[in-house]
Symmetry: C2
Subunit: 242 residues, 2 copies
């Protein structure tokens, strides 16, 4: 805060940083809500809600564009330095992650529309649990950005493993359903992709946490993080052939 | 180019912009190669190549971090304006997309390792075709950034539809295999996810094109783009029950 700057300019810069913080927090909240509603649509077989989620996705696209424009303007007019600069750059990267989160929620919602018309298949508890975990991580990651809290970011970054474990459980259960009866396959495939969407949303929460850590500390987290998703290696045998 | 700046400073700034361009081009080339090699590993059932792809992914993570650090330094020291500023911001966003592309290629490669040990299932022509199309789009999108060519970016943005069509064909074929024989399910699921990975990589090429268009023109492309992926709505019936 250089003393030769008129105070109203300084205040206005602080206000702009606060506005950027608010924009990202709002976008994060909206993304969380999309994840929440997409999951509720699946659990309640509610095609109307699913359709609303899909049609609301453009709000996130619009918010990302607003943040981009705001950031470019802020960089040009304010020429921020050091921690402010890293925060501003992080805000833009995070908005990009949130836009992707929205894409996954929309994709899950579209599949929930199809599933609402299919016979139901097994328990959806795993989906409920995964959804709560990824929403929580998203919220914590965005809070870490808004509060510039590197320790909170590190905790989110390390908290992805339970999500992967639930995903692996869902994956195996769905494969079993598919092998038992080919009539389950269409529904199971859609559910598998929804589970994958939730898992990817969890990955984006982790990405956001990495970005926040870099922004606050000016240094990266270690390259490898705990990762329990073993489904890419999974081989499940069909039941005995009759 | 203010005349009161010593010329070596001006040249050095141009050099830095060129260096950033080179870094992104290099990262783009590496991401394309990862997509290429992951697909080759699938087609040739080559687990060794697949393993190389998976273990090389950290190169992209490292390049993204280098670009981030370089951009933050450039913004702080050079305080670029207008088109330069938009280009620099775009380079950072694009590197984030390329890191995600790498994640998808790695995931595809891991699945190719499993598939190399499974009986083969139908034709892989669709995968070959999809992979060529997404690599082409990635290359064109990165070229558009490097050449600051908004028209080229618009063309990439509109060229996603053929990729989605190939994906839809693969999706239906794999579902048919699964319904015919439950012993096909494990392999088919892995192939389905690989096809989805390639489709997502195509989405990222489209994202990059949008970013480039915004950087060059300072204005966004329209919100809705041509989209032919109907698989989220797909219902495929099992064959007649005997």
């Amino acid at each position: 805060m250089a003393s030769d700057q008129p105070e109203h300019i300084v205040r206005s810069y602080e206000e702009e940083l606060r506005k950027l913080r608010d924009m990202v927090a709002r976008m994060g909240g909206f993304a969380e809500r999309q994840v929440h509603d997409a999951t509720q649509a699946l659990l309640r077989r509610d095609a109307v809600l699913a359709d609303q989620v899909a049609s609301r996705d453009n709000v996130l696209d619009q918010l990302e564009r607003e943040i981009d424009t705001f950031v470019v303007r802020l960089l040009a007019l304010r020429q921020p330095m050091a921690a402010d600069l890293r925060f501003i750059v992080a805000a833009m990267k995070v908005s990009h992650d949130l836009e992707r989160v929205g894409d996954y929620a929309r994709n899950a919602a579209r599949r929930a529309i199809v599933l609402a018309q299919q016979p139901s298949l097994g328990s959806l508890n795993g989906f409920q649990r995964m959804s709560v975990l990824v929403q929580e991580n998203l919220k914590l990651a965005i809070d870490a950005l808004v509060n510039e809290d590197a320790d909170a970011a590190s905790r989110v970054w390390a908290a992805d493993e339970p999500i992967d474990n639930v995903y692996n459980g869902i994956f195996r259960e769905l494969l079993t359903h598919m092998m038992e009866d080919p009539r389950n396959i269409t529904a199971a495939i859609h559910m598998l992709f929804i589970a994958k969407n939730l898992e990817r949303i969890g990955d984006h929460a982790t990405n956001i946490a990495e970005t926040v850590h870099f922004a606050v500390r000016g240094a990266s987290l270690p390259e490898e993080r705990p990762k329990a998703d073993a489904s890419a290696y999974a081989v499940v045998r069909p039941p005995e052939q009759g």
